[in-house]
């Protein structure tokens, strides 16, 4: 609750969307009440609702690891937003019924997504190495060890790019 009080509005909005998703998945029980009687149905329900909780925790606590490194957070968000914009462009084109540009099949989308994640990871790595050398020279003293920091950055950069 204390973390919630100090989170920015955009995180509140994202948490609201995730809560809506969880409610939506629970409302599925009203659409198909027989779900309660089937193991597969219950698994799907718990999986979808649990995933929203996991994403909410990531959204809530993930940015904390970026507190001192806003530039690295910018890399993750920038590449994630780039992929989202391209994907949105594909969707808009499909809804408009146009056939311009490349196809948007599964292979194209997953290749694009993996490429964006690769680039985000590489950019964050290059940036973090620069910061590490600054730390060694005493220009930017940081409390945690560089190995831990690298691991954390890599993980959250990847997750940020994924989201």
């Amino acid at each position: 609750l204390n973390a919630l009080r100090h989170t920015p509005e955009v995180q509140h909005l994202f948490l609201l969307v995730l809560t809506g998703n969880a409610v939506l998945s629970l409302l599925g029980l009203y659409v198909v009440p027989s779900t309660l009687g089937a193991t597969a149905g219950l698994d799907a329900l718990l999986g979808a609702t649990g995933m929203q909780v996991v994403l909410a925790l990531l959204a809530l606590f993930g940015p904390i690891s970026f507190d001192k490194f806003p530039y690295t957070m910018g890399i993750s968000l920038g590449f994630g937003a780039l992929f989202a914009a391209i994907y949105l462009g594909f969707l808009a084109r499909d809804f408009a019924g146009l056939s311009l540009g490349s196809d948007d099949g599964l292979v194209t989308l997953y290749t694009l997504f993996a490429g964006v994640a690769l680039l985000a990871g590489a950019a964050a790595s290059v940036r973090s190495r620069r910061l590490r050398s600054m730390t060694r020279s005493g220009a930017a003293p940081i409390g945690i060890s560089s190995v831990r920091r690298m691991g954390r950055w890599t993980t959250f950069t990847a997750v940020g790019a994924a989201i």
Binding site: N21, L24, A44, F113, G115, G121, A123, V159, A161
Partner: protein
Amino acid sequence: LSAFLLQDLQGALFFHPVLSVVIGSVGGVVGSSLASGSATRWRRLHQLASARV
């Protein structure tokens, strides 16, 4: 239609995020490893060349 809607929701709320996290994490780790490995190799080559001179 109900079954189709539920499958669609399950895809959007569960499989899509799982796949995104997996692909994003693997891609991020591989990308950072490639960049880090290339930089280290480049530095070693540079140091070797400097030592020879």
